[in-house]
């Protein structure tokens, strides 16, 4: 199956490992991955910050770039939700191709829950708000993780609570965002997991930022919690 990868501006710029892992998983499962190089950004940040005109331009750019795609796959629940549910608000009439968040594509389209990965670590999963509430990916990421060899999945308390990132909310309401982030990391650390996993590089960037800031405050952090994208676990073997 031919798959067009939308890497998202954030993963492209700051988390290329997420993109490489996504490619690895898709190719391992027999997909031919195409990366239209004219792609940039879905416009989510602009729309959510109050700049719908710029967001509309970016959505139209996305639609044009992926015009002949059979299936667009992206390792981000929030970008997928933006393009699936909000694109028509900022770019009426733009023809958005069929698109999937990675776990949706693997489970629904390819019909796979065991991707042949091995990750011998204790992992807790944060379901991220836009994946769960806007896209409704449900238990798909958990099913994928449960089939990873050696992976010990532990439940995250108050998992449904937002990590506090919220795009420019993280800056405009930094105090509230920070408090939410600190609470989320406290929950994650309480599980004793080695890795905090999620399916959105943006939420992971915020959570890793909180962890690193906390660890920096201690000369030798008792135990380090690391963040990891779902795609990176699924690519490991």
């Amino acid at each position: 199956m031919r798959v067009s990868l939308f890497i998202t501006c954030l993963a492209d710029t700051l988390f290329p490992d997420v993109g490489r892992a996504t490619v690895a998983v898709l190719e391992r499962l027999g997909c031919t991955v195409d990366f239209p190089e004219a792609q940039t950004c879905c416009g989510q940040m602009h729309m959510n910050t109050g700049y719908p005109a710029i967001a509309g331009d970016l959505v139209r750019g996305f639609a044009q770039t992926f015009a002949d795609a059979e299936a667009v796959v992206m390792p981000s629940g929030s970008c997928a939700a933006m393009l699936r549910h909000h694109a028509h608000n900022v770019a009426p009439g733009a023809a958005v191709p069929p698109l999937y968040e990675l776990s949706e594509f693997l489970v629904d389209v390819l019909g796979v829950t065991d991707v042949g990965a091995r990750f011998p670590h204790t992992v807790t999963y944060h379901p991220t708000c836009h994946s769960s509430r806007l896209l409704g990916v449900g238990d798909r990421p958990y099913r994928l993780l449960q089939h990873v060899e050696g992976l010990n999945l532990v439940e995250l308390p108050a998992a449904e609570q937002c990590c506090g990132f919220g795009g420019t909310f993280a800056i405009k309401n930094a105090d509230t965002s920070g408090a939410m982030g600190v609470d989320k990391i406290r929950s994650a650390r309480s599980t004793g997991a080695d890795y905090l996993c999620a399916s959105d590089a943006s939420c992971l960037m915020h959570m890793k930022g909180v962890i690193d800031k906390e660890d920096r405050g201690h000369r030798s952090p008792a135990r380090s919690l690391r963040t990891v994208h779902l795609a990176e676990i699924l690519a490991s073997r």
Partner: protein
Amino acid sequence: MSSRQLSRTDHVGLHPKPGEAFLGMPPFPQAAHVALGDDQLRRNLGHATSTIRTKRLRAVGEVPDWEELRLAGASIKDHTLANLDRYLIEFEAAATAAGATVHWAADAEEACAIGVAIARSHNTSEVVKVKSMATQEIELNEALAAAGIDAWETDLAELIVQLGGDTPSHFLVPAIHRNRNEIADIFRDRMAEVGRPAPDDLTAEPRRLAEAARLHLREKFLRAKVAFSGANFAVAETGTLVVVESEGNGRMCLTLPEVLVSVVGIEKIVPSFADLEVFLQLLPRSSTAERMNPYTTMWTGVTPGDGPQEVHVILLDNGRTRALADRVGRQALRCIRCSACLNVCPVYERVGGHAYGSVYPGPIGAILNPLLHGVSDPHDAALPFASSLCGACYEACPVAIDIPTVLIEQRAEAVREKAGHPGPPDPERLGMQAAGWAFGKAQRLNRLQRLAARFRGVASRIRWLPGLLGGWTRYRAMPEIPQESFRRWWSERGSGRSGLDTVDASADLLDQRRSSSERSQRPPQRRSSTEQGQPPPQRRSSSERSERVETSEETEQ
């Protein structure tokens, strides 16, 4: 944040006084900063909201057709709002025929003037009140006080708030910001000033606190000639008003006094009595997590010899027609004030209700205030941004108000409003325009990524950023800038470097990330053929597009 703003907040106090209400409060981000520093408040809120959340989930989970019920509630409200002119007239005719007097108030001032005039006409120096958001919205208590009339709140939590000299911070549990020890202190210190004192041996035991309140309020119920209320629903077909409550104190107010005045927002109308079937299921399960509401009082005008013999209804607009004119935002008028959105909101849970600077806090307040007043005031303009857009509110809302979508619309309105004012260039606006430009063409993004990679060493040492971006570094470390972007890796992979080997050792990637110093010592990658404009052989379709864009970029320059 300027120290001036902080000191203003300190002066007003975390819990604003009634009357001065929220006038001295700074906009949301600064008010939230102060609230977040109050550990007791965060503990009170965290405990209370998580308890209510768990109970609500259970109560809602019991109803197999909850989704259908929710959509029925939304569509009844939408239909009513679309025909509000007709239903309001119908309500007025039915209520009048049943012996009520219906008044129309365009704004808070008119509504208060009508209420004060009615109270005055009965030569009373005090009135009792049923818990009501509408009367708080119009600041009726303050208007009555200015006319020399004391208004006694009779809802237990409203009594706590009134005696404590602050303002409610939640629709349903207005004193959610107080714990029982604080409540016992308030009762001991303040009850004697305004009526029957608290018992000398009062403890913080809930039963003892309720008893003290009961004894204190009973005197007021028996003495009052005039009562004020709001209404949860107003039935157009019959002219009936409905108040739902849990304590019975509301029913005392609605039945004992001779005169009853109800301030009712025009969005409270439902067409028929049968429509209550939907809302009387949705409301209690969403608000108190009860299957059925403990006290549901309904009255239709005057019943001779039974209950108040003079019944007034003040139909209140106060910005509601403004909200109704907003194509996206009008759904906020479906709200039945259940407060489920407050209880599930991670922002509300951490900062409490007062930071919103309005009697309508939480997610619904964040959209309702700008809809009612517009966004020209800095408080209202800040509210649509007081959300991480997590969507928990929409999920919980019993009338399916898509609060995140309305927030997004209002953010755009706030940005437009700000742009309309002359002043120095707004850094946020410039940043958004710059980002829009960079994302406008893949080549620009590519160049910026490569530029950023050159500064990755410097960037990794950043601990603090100035201005807007300082919000990031105050709570989080900066993300590392990778040596190469994904798109650069892809184009090099296409030009012959084996990609799969690199990726399939993905477990190693995680190790690599741990020692970033190792990675930065890797020799810089050679420019690939793609970047020089020659498409790699295997990836024709994408490279063709890329080539097209490259050409247009050159044309532009």
